[in-house]
Symmetry: C2
Subunit: 404 residues, 2 copies
């Protein structure tokens, strides 16, 4: 059985999304900027897609949603643009981010630090959550922008974006949120929030890879990301990736429907049941309370079980999970959120992330639960540091392995 | 009949390319950076694609080919990176480009001019060609980079890249070429040239939109385009667009085969025959000699025939052509290359670009020739400025319309 539980890394393209994309490769292949029927053949699809994307985040039509190549590009763009506008060519010198942002934010501000920018890293508490109160004291009259993710990719922790955006508005500081892990999983309503910039990416909600977006509030214009033919209102030149935009539109429509209907509730129910069962394994920890997490994510530590070893066992059983962000996973380092929380080093190395989707089934979860139980037993049995389960017990009570 | 003769704007995705891409949407959808079978399922396809891309431009394996979202992105990246490395944080202040570069180069250097960079625009001669001799005198010890396109998107003119790259090497100045209109149409062999950076894009040679590349010679490293998860050797972070890269690889393989085999010769033969017949229409001009043009392109002026009016007539007949770059075509301005050549203003407005592909057929060309003849007759007949063909003649000699 193959089970994909790494949906925070990327997702399957929904078959309906692929069906809508398909005509734009070999049939409706015109360049939308040309002046003939092959171009105008692409316009209705593009228009509909953009309408669905605006609707999915309830963005006011006066604001801009600029299609980019990915969330990494959106995050780079907003931070580098503000650096140009307000730091290099302005009187600000300061950016605030959380210490658990995605690498695309953390690496970008490191780059800007090397150019003379000051960066403050907002800590998370021992539940993996940002405390908005801390932010208020950090903002100075030199602060150009605050960039705090909406939901964390590792834990699923949902940060208090409403409160944070209020503080930024009161202090007259720009606010950007990387909502890559929020859009398509929870309600994102830009008409009820003071967000200036918002990043999201299609391949996290069953759209194709290679297409994301940056929402830009009216009056908060950035400098262009790419100069050239002035596509995307001059913000991002380059031939429009028609198939990808059409796919993103359909994926957004389907994701928004899933959030509004009971589909994401069912994901949450499956996740909660899975988590309840995992927590019956002794010496097992979950950091962030599930009520303040995205409905699909579990970051869980099995003491004495090296994360990579667990991945190996699960992979052999056909199950895909993660030790954390795919954007850092080749490093085999300890989980950065676990480190930020201040977990003991050996516990930080034991974190495993399961991220479900609306395509995850009960059968898959039941199968995975058994595989995890077996893996924990086996790996604790051969662990030099974990004095827990004598090897003899491996052969007894298979259905109750590790449940103590 | 539908005839697509706007292949310099974008191309149909080759059916074989689409077939190779298809599994990477709904089946092999893993994030290549993850640590499980869904990830490793993508690795052979990615590896093969990169090998085909290197082979297609004969790039030494020690050099980098970084996948980007498009040629516009590649052009922006190299110029902005050199600005950061050698102008903002170095002792250079000067960039040289040709006056007929693609908007993605011209707009980028305009942006850099506003940041204090000096830009020299190398002129074209009355055949639409760069004269390399002029370049030598323009290079100073303050010149950071020379950026000259390999082949012009409007005329198809092939610039003397070998000579230009030699001059840059002798003068110890970096050399970038936007080869977007060359790759897939003529031989591009990086082992026989002193090119430091080279831009190309899949959708110009029957690959998908949304994927391009920048070749970077070893030792000529740039600063990263996108900071983040360190994909693409740290140059361009962001989840790899697997389907698009696989598609680009296949498209590159097929295009290289077409250039090496007789397929592009057949395109040239069709183009030459088409052009010979078009030139039999009176008061008709082609600027660049066909021997120094890409094999698929004709930029032609019919005196007294407004380019947009011609497009309209052709579009009604099911034929897609262009008045010039799709990246500028919504502006309805006169053709920039015609302006650069110094053509009279009214002639610059009459330029029409036909760009063929290896999918263009004899039947399509014959059909188009008739449609152009009819359009020229009709439009000259109603032209206020062109005293050529009395209205009466429209009804006579249909097969010989305009052949005088």
């Amino acid at each position: 059985m193959n089970v994909y539980l790494d949906n925070n890394a990327t997702t399957i393209v929904a078959p309906q999304v692929f069906i809508e994309m398909e005509p734009y490769f070999v049939q409706k292949y015109g360049n939308p900027n040309s002046l003939h029927a092959y171009a105008s053949d692409t316009h209705p699809g593009l228009k509909t897609a953009m309408e669905k994307i605006y609707a999915g985040i309830n963005a006011p039509t006066e604001d801009s949603v600029v299609i980019t190549a990915c969330a990494t590009e959106s995050n780079n763009w907003v931070l580098k643009s503000i650096y140009f506008q307000q730091i290099l060519n302005g009187d600000k010198d300061h950016i605030i981010v959380s210490e658990v942002e995605h690498p695309s934010v953390l690496s970008t501000v490191k780059f800007l630090e090397n150019l003379g920018c000051k960066v403050t890293y907002l800590p998370i508490n021992n539940e993996g959550i940002i405390e908005a109160d801390n932010l208020s004291d950090m903002i100075t009259d030199k602060t150009a922008i605050v960039s705090i993710m909406w939901a964390n990719n590792e834990t699923g922790a949902i940060f208090p974006i409403d409160e944070i955006s209020q503080i930024c508005k009161e202090k007259n500081v720009l606010f950007h949120t990387d909502a890559t892990q929020a859009v398509g999983k929870i309600v994102v309503d830009l008409q009820s929030l003071n967000v200036d910039y918002l990043t999201f990416s299609a391949h996290k909600f069953h759209g194709p890879k290679g297409v994301g977006a940056l929402y830009i509030k009216k009056g908060k214009e950035l400098i262009p990301l790419l100069h050239g033919g002035a596509q995307m209102d001059g913000y991002r030149s380059g031939t429009l990736n028609v198939a990808a935009i059409v796919g993103m539109g359909k994926a957004m429509e389907m994701a928004a429907e899933a959030v509004e209907s009971k589909k994401m509730d069912e994901v949450r129910r499956l996740r909660d049941e899975f988590e309840d069962n995992l927590l019956q394994i002794a010496d097992t920890f979950v950091v962030t309370p599930r009520e303040i997490r995205t409905p699909n994510t579990i970051l869980i530590s099995f003491r004495g079980v090296e994360g990579e070893s667990m991945l190996w066992d699960l992979n052999r059983a056909g199950i895909a999970a993660s030790t954390g962000s795919a954007c850092a996973s080749e490093d085999l380092e300890s989980n950065p959120v676990m480190e930020a929380i201040g977990a003991e080093a050996d516990l930080a190395h034991t974190a495993i992330r399961f991220s479900l989707s609306r395509y995850t089934t009960q059968e898959e979860i039941d199968y995975t639960l058994k595989a995890v139980n077996s893996a924990v037993l086996r790996l604790r049995g051969i662990s030099s540091s974990y004095a827990y389960s004598p090897p003899e017990s491996i052969d007894t009570g298979k259905e109750n392995n590790g449940h103590r």
